[in-house]
Symmetry: C2
Subunit: 211 residues, 2 copies
Protein backbone atom coordinates (compact mmCIF):
# COMPACT_ATOMS: atom_id res chain seq x y z
CA UNK A 1 0.00 0.00 0.00
CA UNK A 2 2.72 2.41 1.00
CA UNK A 3 4.80 0.49 -1.50
CA UNK A 4 2.46 1.42 -4.31
CA UNK A 5 2.95 5.13 -3.56
CA UNK A 6 6.70 4.73 -3.63
CA UNK A 7 6.63 2.89 -6.92
CA UNK A 8 4.45 5.54 -8.47
CA UNK A 9 6.90 8.14 -7.27
CA UNK A 10 9.79 6.37 -8.93
CA UNK A 11 11.29 4.47 -6.03
CA UNK A 12 11.13 7.51 -3.78
CA UNK A 13 14.18 9.15 -5.31
CA UNK A 14 12.18 12.21 -6.22
CA UNK A 15 10.98 12.53 -2.63
CA UNK A 16 14.48 11.99 -1.30
CA UNK A 17 15.77 14.76 -3.54
CA UNK A 18 13.02 17.11 -2.38
CA UNK A 19 13.64 16.43 1.29
CA UNK A 20 17.41 16.74 0.94
CA UNK A 21 17.08 19.93 -1.07
CA UNK A 22 14.76 21.40 1.57
CA UNK A 23 17.40 20.76 4.21
CA UNK A 24 20.31 22.12 2.22
CA UNK A 25 18.38 25.14 1.00
CA UNK A 26 17.49 26.05 4.56
CA UNK A 27 21.01 25.54 5.88
CA UNK A 28 22.92 27.21 3.07
CA UNK A 29 20.36 29.07 1.02
CA UNK A 30 18.95 28.23 -2.38
CA UNK A 31 21.44 30.15 -4.49
CA UNK A 32 24.44 29.04 -2.43
CA UNK A 33 23.55 25.37 -2.72
CA UNK A 34 24.90 23.84 -5.91
CA UNK A 35 23.25 21.01 -7.76
CA UNK A 36 26.43 19.01 -7.23
CA UNK A 37 26.26 19.39 -3.45
CA UNK A 38 22.66 18.31 -3.56
CA UNK A 39 23.45 15.28 -5.70
CA UNK A 40 26.29 14.31 -3.36
CA UNK A 41 23.99 14.51 -0.35
CA UNK A 42 21.41 12.38 -2.12
CA UNK A 43 24.00 9.87 -3.23
CA UNK A 44 23.78 10.31 -7.00
CA UNK A 45 25.67 12.37 -9.59
CA UNK A 46 24.69 15.87 -10.61
CA UNK A 47 23.08 15.19 -13.97
CA UNK A 48 20.83 12.49 -12.51
CA UNK A 49 18.86 15.21 -10.78
CA UNK A 50 17.67 16.37 -14.16
CA UNK A 51 15.85 13.14 -14.75
CA UNK A 52 13.54 14.07 -11.86
CA UNK A 53 13.41 17.85 -12.20
CA UNK A 54 13.68 20.06 -15.24
CA UNK A 55 15.57 22.89 -13.55
CA UNK A 56 16.91 23.82 -10.15
CA UNK A 57 14.13 26.34 -9.70
CA UNK A 58 11.61 23.63 -10.47
CA UNK A 59 12.94 21.83 -7.42
CA UNK A 60 12.36 24.86 -5.23
CA UNK A 61 8.90 25.21 -6.69
CA UNK A 62 8.16 21.63 -5.71
CA UNK A 63 9.23 22.38 -2.14
CA UNK A 64 7.08 25.50 -1.90
CA UNK A 65 4.05 23.79 -3.42
CA UNK A 66 4.36 20.96 -0.94
CA UNK A 67 4.53 23.44 1.93
CA UNK A 68 1.39 25.26 0.87
CA UNK A 69 -0.34 21.97 0.26
CA UNK A 70 0.42 20.63 3.73
CA UNK A 71 -0.57 23.82 5.52
CA UNK A 72 -3.81 23.99 3.58
CA UNK A 73 -4.41 20.30 4.19
CA UNK A 74 -3.99 20.77 7.93
CA UNK A 75 -6.61 23.51 7.77
CA UNK A 76 -9.00 21.23 5.92
CA UNK A 77 -8.56 18.52 8.52
CA UNK A 78 -10.11 20.76 11.19
CA UNK A 79 -13.32 19.19 12.54
CA UNK A 80 -16.19 21.31 11.22
CA UNK A 81 -18.53 23.17 13.52
CA UNK A 82 -17.83 24.53 16.95
CA UNK A 83 -17.17 28.11 17.94
CA UNK A 84 -14.53 30.26 16.27
CA UNK A 85 -12.28 30.47 19.33
CA UNK A 86 -12.04 26.69 19.48
CA UNK A 87 -11.29 26.52 15.76
CA UNK A 88 -8.61 29.16 16.20
CA UNK A 89 -6.98 27.28 19.05
CA UNK A 90 -6.99 24.10 16.98
CA UNK A 91 -5.56 26.05 14.10
CA UNK A 92 -2.59 27.25 16.15
CA UNK A 93 -1.94 23.74 17.39
CA UNK A 94 -2.16 22.34 13.87
CA UNK A 95 0.12 25.00 12.43
CA UNK A 96 2.81 24.43 15.04
CA UNK A 97 2.77 20.65 14.75
CA UNK A 98 2.72 20.82 10.95
CA UNK A 99 5.78 23.03 10.64
CA UNK A 100 7.68 21.30 13.41
CA UNK A 101 7.13 17.99 11.63
CA UNK A 102 8.86 19.36 8.52
CA UNK A 103 10.84 22.40 9.51
CA UNK A 104 13.19 22.28 6.53
CA UNK A 105 10.37 22.13 4.05
CA UNK A 106 8.32 25.00 5.44
CA UNK A 107 11.25 27.21 6.38
CA UNK A 108 12.70 26.89 2.89
CA UNK A 109 9.33 27.58 1.28
CA UNK A 110 8.88 30.70 3.38
CA UNK A 111 12.40 32.09 3.18
CA UNK A 112 13.23 31.22 -0.41
CA UNK A 113 9.91 32.25 -1.89
CA UNK A 114 11.64 35.28 -3.33
CA UNK A 115 14.01 33.06 -5.28
CA UNK A 116 11.08 31.93 -7.39
CA UNK A 117 10.24 34.04 -10.41
CA UNK A 118 7.31 34.72 -12.66
CA UNK A 119 4.30 32.46 -12.67
CA UNK A 120 5.72 29.96 -10.22
CA UNK A 121 6.19 32.66 -7.64
CA UNK A 122 2.70 34.03 -8.21
CA UNK A 123 1.23 30.56 -7.70
CA UNK A 124 2.89 30.09 -4.32
CA UNK A 125 2.18 33.62 -3.12
CA UNK A 126 -1.47 33.10 -4.01
CA UNK A 127 -1.51 29.86 -2.03
CA UNK A 128 -0.02 31.51 1.06
CA UNK A 129 -2.34 34.47 0.76
CA UNK A 130 -5.38 32.20 0.60
CA UNK A 131 -4.14 30.44 3.70
CA UNK A 132 -3.76 33.77 5.52
CA UNK A 133 -7.21 34.88 4.36
CA UNK A 134 -8.74 31.76 5.88
CA UNK A 135 -7.05 32.49 9.20
CA UNK A 136 -8.36 36.03 9.06
CA UNK A 137 -11.89 34.69 8.51
CA UNK A 138 -11.68 32.60 11.66
CA UNK A 139 -10.37 35.57 13.62
CA UNK A 140 -13.15 37.79 12.30
CA UNK A 141 -15.70 35.14 13.30
CA UNK A 142 -14.24 35.02 16.80
CA UNK A 143 -14.67 38.77 17.00
CA UNK A 144 -18.29 38.48 15.87
CA UNK A 145 -18.93 35.80 18.47
CA UNK A 146 -17.42 38.06 21.11
CA UNK A 147 -14.51 35.82 22.09
CA UNK A 148 -11.91 38.24 20.67
CA UNK A 149 -11.78 41.97 21.20
CA UNK A 150 -13.07 44.23 18.44
CA UNK A 151 -10.57 46.94 19.39
CA UNK A 152 -8.17 45.76 16.69
CA UNK A 153 -9.15 44.96 13.08
CA UNK A 154 -9.08 41.27 12.11
CA UNK A 155 -6.36 42.06 9.60
CA UNK A 156 -4.04 43.39 12.28
CA UNK A 157 -4.74 40.50 14.62
CA UNK A 158 -3.95 38.10 11.78
CA UNK A 159 -0.63 39.80 11.12
CA UNK A 160 0.18 39.60 14.81
CA UNK A 161 -0.70 35.93 15.05
CA UNK A 162 1.24 34.92 11.95
CA UNK A 163 4.24 36.96 13.08
CA UNK A 164 4.14 35.10 16.36
CA UNK A 165 3.87 31.70 14.70
CA UNK A 166 6.20 32.13 11.73
CA UNK A 167 9.10 33.30 13.84
CA UNK A 168 9.29 29.68 14.92
CA UNK A 169 10.36 28.71 11.42
CA UNK A 170 13.34 30.99 11.57
CA UNK A 171 14.93 30.64 14.96
CA UNK A 172 13.73 27.32 16.25
CA UNK A 173 16.53 25.20 14.82
CA UNK A 174 19.25 27.63 15.89
CA UNK A 175 18.52 29.65 18.95
CA UNK A 176 17.44 27.37 21.69
CA UNK A 177 19.96 26.34 24.31
CA UNK A 178 19.27 22.93 25.80
CA UNK A 179 16.28 20.79 24.94
CA UNK A 180 14.22 22.28 22.12
CA UNK A 181 10.59 22.96 22.98
CA UNK A 182 8.00 20.38 22.01
CA UNK A 183 5.11 21.27 19.70
CA UNK A 184 2.79 21.14 22.71
CA UNK A 185 4.91 23.63 24.63
CA UNK A 186 5.12 26.01 21.70
CA UNK A 187 1.39 25.75 21.13
CA UNK A 188 0.71 26.54 24.77
CA UNK A 189 3.07 29.52 24.67
CA UNK A 190 1.73 31.13 21.51
CA UNK A 191 -1.90 30.44 22.40
CA UNK A 192 -1.45 32.01 25.78
CA UNK A 193 0.36 35.10 24.47
CA UNK A 194 -1.94 35.65 21.53
CA UNK A 195 -5.22 35.36 23.43
CA UNK A 196 -4.27 36.84 26.77
CA UNK A 197 -1.03 38.78 26.31
CA UNK A 198 2.00 39.06 28.55
CA UNK A 199 0.05 40.73 31.32
CA UNK A 200 -2.28 37.76 31.25
CA UNK A 201 -5.18 39.65 32.76
CA UNK A 202 -7.79 37.18 31.58
CA UNK A 203 -5.66 34.08 31.29
CA UNK A 204 -7.76 30.97 31.66
CA UNK A 205 -5.14 28.21 32.04
CA UNK A 206 -1.94 29.42 33.69
CA UNK A 207 -0.53 25.94 34.23
CA UNK A 208 -0.02 24.20 30.89
CA UNK A 209 1.55 27.19 29.20
CA UNK A 210 4.88 26.70 30.96
CA UNK A 211 7.87 25.47 29.02
Amino acid sequence: VARRDEEQAGGGTRELILATAARLFRERGYAQTTTRELADAVGIRGPSLYYHFETKQDLLFGICRESVSRLTGAFDSLPPGGDAETRLRSLIRLYVSTIIADRDLHATAYIELRSLTGERRATIVEGFDRYLARIEEVIASAQSEGSLSRDLPARELTVSLTNLLMGTLLWLPHRWSGRPPTPEELTALFTSVFFDGAKGAGRSEPGPARL
Copy 2:
Protein backbone atom coordinates in the same frame (compact mmCIF):
# COMPACT_ATOMS: atom_id res chain seq x y z
CA VAL B 1 29.96 69.36 10.05
CA ALA B 2 28.08 66.70 8.13
CA ARG B 3 30.60 67.45 5.40
CA ARG B 4 33.44 66.36 7.59
CA ASP B 5 31.83 62.97 8.13
CA GLU B 6 31.42 62.51 4.41
CA GLU B 7 35.00 63.40 3.70
CA GLN B 8 36.22 61.02 6.33
CA ALA B 9 34.10 58.33 4.76
CA GLY B 10 35.66 58.91 1.37
CA GLY B 11 33.09 61.09 -0.32
CA GLY B 12 30.23 58.91 0.80
CA THR B 13 30.79 56.28 -1.88
CA ARG B 14 31.31 53.60 0.68
CA GLU B 15 28.02 54.50 2.35
CA LEU B 16 26.24 54.60 -0.99
CA ILE B 17 27.53 51.14 -1.78
CA LEU B 18 26.39 49.83 1.59
CA ALA B 19 22.90 51.30 1.25
CA THR B 20 22.51 50.09 -2.32
CA ALA B 21 23.76 46.64 -1.44
CA ALA B 22 21.31 46.45 1.46
CA ARG B 23 18.46 47.18 -0.93
CA LEU B 24 19.55 44.74 -3.61
CA PHE B 25 20.38 42.00 -1.13
CA ARG B 26 16.91 42.26 0.37
CA GLU B 27 15.15 42.33 -2.98
CA ARG B 28 17.11 39.60 -4.71
CA GLY B 29 19.11 37.88 -2.02
CA TYR B 30 22.82 38.08 -1.27
CA ALA B 31 23.97 35.19 -3.45
CA GLN B 32 21.69 36.13 -6.36
CA THR B 33 22.94 39.69 -6.47
CA THR B 34 26.10 40.00 -8.55
CA THR B 35 28.81 42.53 -7.89
CA ARG B 36 28.19 43.89 -11.39
CA GLU B 37 24.51 44.55 -10.67
CA LEU B 38 25.51 46.31 -7.49
CA ALA B 39 28.13 48.41 -9.28
CA ASP B 40 25.60 49.34 -11.97
CA ALA B 41 23.07 50.44 -9.36
CA VAL B 42 25.72 52.54 -7.63
CA GLY B 43 26.91 54.03 -10.90
CA ILE B 44 30.44 52.66 -11.02
CA ARG B 45 32.12 49.63 -12.62
CA GLY B 46 32.47 46.29 -10.91
CA PRO B 47 36.13 46.37 -9.93
CA SER B 48 35.75 49.79 -8.30
CA LEU B 49 33.83 48.13 -5.50
CA TYR B 50 37.01 46.41 -4.45
CA TYR B 51 38.63 49.69 -3.59
CA HIS B 52 36.05 50.09 -0.81
CA PHE B 53 35.53 46.48 0.26
CA GLU B 54 37.89 43.54 0.19
CA THR B 55 35.30 40.92 -0.73
CA LYS B 56 31.60 40.64 -1.36
CA GLN B 57 31.10 39.00 2.00
CA ASP B 58 32.90 41.89 3.64
CA LEU B 59 30.16 44.10 2.27
CA LEU B 60 27.48 41.93 3.85
CA PHE B 61 29.41 41.98 7.10
CA GLY B 62 29.39 45.77 7.01
CA ILE B 63 25.60 45.76 6.60
CA CYS B 64 25.07 43.34 9.48
CA ARG B 65 27.43 45.23 11.77
CA GLU B 66 25.63 48.47 11.05
CA SER B 67 22.29 46.85 11.85
CA VAL B 68 23.47 45.54 15.20
CA SER B 69 25.07 48.87 15.95
CA ARG B 70 21.90 50.86 15.29
CA LEU B 71 19.65 48.53 17.26
CA THR B 72 22.04 48.59 20.18
CA GLY B 73 22.36 52.36 19.89
CA ALA B 74 18.60 52.76 20.04
CA PHE B 75 18.60 50.73 23.23
CA ASP B 76 21.30 52.92 24.74
CA SER B 77 19.31 56.05 23.92
CA LEU B 78 16.52 54.98 26.29
CA PRO B 79 16.12 57.49 29.11
CA PRO B 80 17.40 55.83 32.27
CA GLY B 81 15.20 55.16 35.25
CA GLY B 82 11.47 54.61 35.33
CA ASP B 83 9.62 51.35 35.72
CA ALA B 84 10.30 48.31 33.53
CA GLU B 85 6.93 48.40 31.78
CA THR B 86 7.58 51.94 30.59
CA ARG B 87 11.05 50.98 29.41
CA LEU B 88 9.59 48.01 27.57
CA ARG B 89 6.99 50.16 25.84
CA SER B 90 9.69 52.63 24.80
CA LEU B 91 11.78 49.72 23.59
CA ILE B 92 9.02 48.47 21.29
CA ARG B 93 8.50 51.97 19.91
CA LEU B 94 12.24 52.41 19.35
CA TYR B 95 12.63 49.04 17.69
CA VAL B 96 9.78 49.66 15.27
CA SER B 97 10.91 53.15 14.29
CA THR B 98 14.52 52.02 13.96
CA ILE B 99 13.81 49.18 11.56
CA ILE B 100 11.20 51.13 9.60
CA ALA B 101 13.73 53.90 9.09
CA ASP B 102 16.12 51.43 7.42
CA ARG B 103 14.17 48.41 6.41
CA ASP B 104 16.63 47.24 3.78
CA LEU B 105 19.54 47.35 6.15
CA HIS B 106 17.91 45.46 9.01
CA ALA B 107 16.02 42.98 6.86
CA THR B 108 19.18 42.08 4.99
CA ALA B 109 21.15 41.74 8.21
CA TYR B 110 18.53 39.44 9.68
CA ILE B 111 17.79 37.31 6.63
CA GLU B 112 21.28 37.01 5.20
CA LEU B 113 23.05 36.39 8.48
CA ARG B 114 23.48 32.78 7.41
CA SER B 115 25.41 33.86 4.33
CA LEU B 116 28.20 35.01 6.61
CA THR B 117 30.78 32.43 7.60
CA GLY B 118 33.32 31.85 10.33
CA GLU B 119 34.35 34.63 12.64
CA ARG B 120 32.30 37.30 10.94
CA ARG B 121 29.14 35.33 11.48
CA ALA B 122 30.00 34.66 15.11
CA THR B 123 30.54 38.38 15.71
CA ILE B 124 27.11 39.31 14.39
CA VAL B 125 25.29 36.46 16.11
CA GLU B 126 26.91 37.53 19.37
CA GLY B 127 25.70 41.09 18.82
CA PHE B 128 22.14 40.01 18.17
CA ASP B 129 22.17 37.66 21.12
CA ARG B 130 23.37 40.42 23.43
CA TYR B 131 20.55 42.61 22.17
CA LEU B 132 18.00 39.86 22.86
CA ALA B 133 19.47 39.28 26.30
CA ARG B 134 18.95 42.95 27.16
CA ILE B 135 15.31 42.73 26.11
CA GLU B 136 14.90 39.66 28.26
CA GLU B 137 16.33 41.56 31.24
CA VAL B 138 13.73 44.28 30.87
CA ILE B 139 10.96 41.70 30.59
CA ALA B 140 12.21 39.90 33.69
CA SER B 141 12.27 43.22 35.56
CA ALA B 142 8.70 43.91 34.52
CA GLN B 143 7.75 40.52 35.93
CA SER B 144 9.51 41.31 39.20
CA GLU B 145 7.72 44.63 39.41
CA GLY B 146 4.42 42.86 38.86
CA SER B 147 3.48 44.56 35.60
CA LEU B 148 3.88 41.37 33.57
CA SER B 149 2.50 37.96 34.44
CA ARG B 150 4.87 35.40 35.95
CA ASP B 151 2.93 32.55 34.35
CA LEU B 152 5.38 32.44 31.46
CA PRO B 153 9.18 32.47 31.78
CA ALA B 154 10.93 35.67 30.64
CA ARG B 155 12.71 33.70 27.96
CA GLU B 156 9.42 32.61 26.37
CA LEU B 157 7.95 36.08 26.56
CA THR B 158 11.05 37.44 24.87
CA VAL B 159 10.75 34.94 22.04
CA SER B 160 7.10 35.90 21.63
CA LEU B 161 7.84 39.60 21.56
CA THR B 162 10.69 39.33 19.10
CA ASN B 163 8.65 37.03 16.86
CA LEU B 164 5.93 39.65 16.85
CA LEU B 165 8.33 42.47 16.05
CA MET B 166 10.67 40.81 13.59
CA GLY B 167 7.90 39.60 11.33
CA THR B 168 7.61 43.26 10.35
CA LEU B 169 10.99 43.04 8.69
CA LEU B 170 9.85 40.29 6.41
CA TRP B 171 6.37 41.14 5.19
CA LEU B 172 6.09 44.88 5.65
CA PRO B 173 7.45 45.89 2.26
CA HIS B 174 5.45 43.26 0.40
CA ARG B 175 2.17 42.31 1.94
CA TRP B 176 0.22 45.40 2.69
CA SER B 177 -2.49 46.48 0.33
CA GLY B 178 -3.04 50.22 0.29
CA ARG B 179 -1.24 52.67 2.53
CA PRO B 180 1.48 51.00 4.56
CA PRO B 181 1.13 51.38 8.32
CA THR B 182 3.09 54.13 10.05
CA PRO B 183 5.60 53.33 12.78
CA GLU B 184 3.14 54.73 15.30
CA GLU B 185 0.39 52.41 14.13
CA LEU B 186 2.64 49.37 14.20
CA THR B 187 3.89 50.30 17.64
CA ALA B 188 0.33 50.62 18.92
CA LEU B 189 -0.63 47.28 17.39
CA PHE B 190 2.28 45.25 18.73
CA THR B 191 2.21 46.92 22.13
CA SER B 192 -1.46 46.21 22.48
CA VAL B 193 -1.22 42.58 21.39
CA PHE B 194 1.89 41.81 23.41
CA PHE B 195 0.69 43.29 26.69
CA ASP B 196 -3.01 42.54 26.54
CA GLY B 197 -3.54 39.89 23.87
CA ALA B 198 -6.28 39.52 21.30
CA LYS B 199 -8.97 39.08 23.93
CA GLY B 200 -7.83 42.39 25.37
CA ALA B 201 -9.21 41.65 28.82
CA GLY B 202 -7.11 44.27 30.55
CA ARG B 203 -6.51 46.64 27.66
CA SER B 204 -5.85 50.12 28.92
CA GLU B 205 -6.06 52.23 25.77
CA PRO B 206 -8.45 50.82 23.17
CA GLY B 207 -8.45 53.90 20.97
CA PRO B 208 -4.96 54.60 19.65
CA ALA B 209 -4.28 50.98 18.78
CA ARG B 210 -6.47 51.11 15.66
CA LEU B 211 -4.83 51.16 12.26
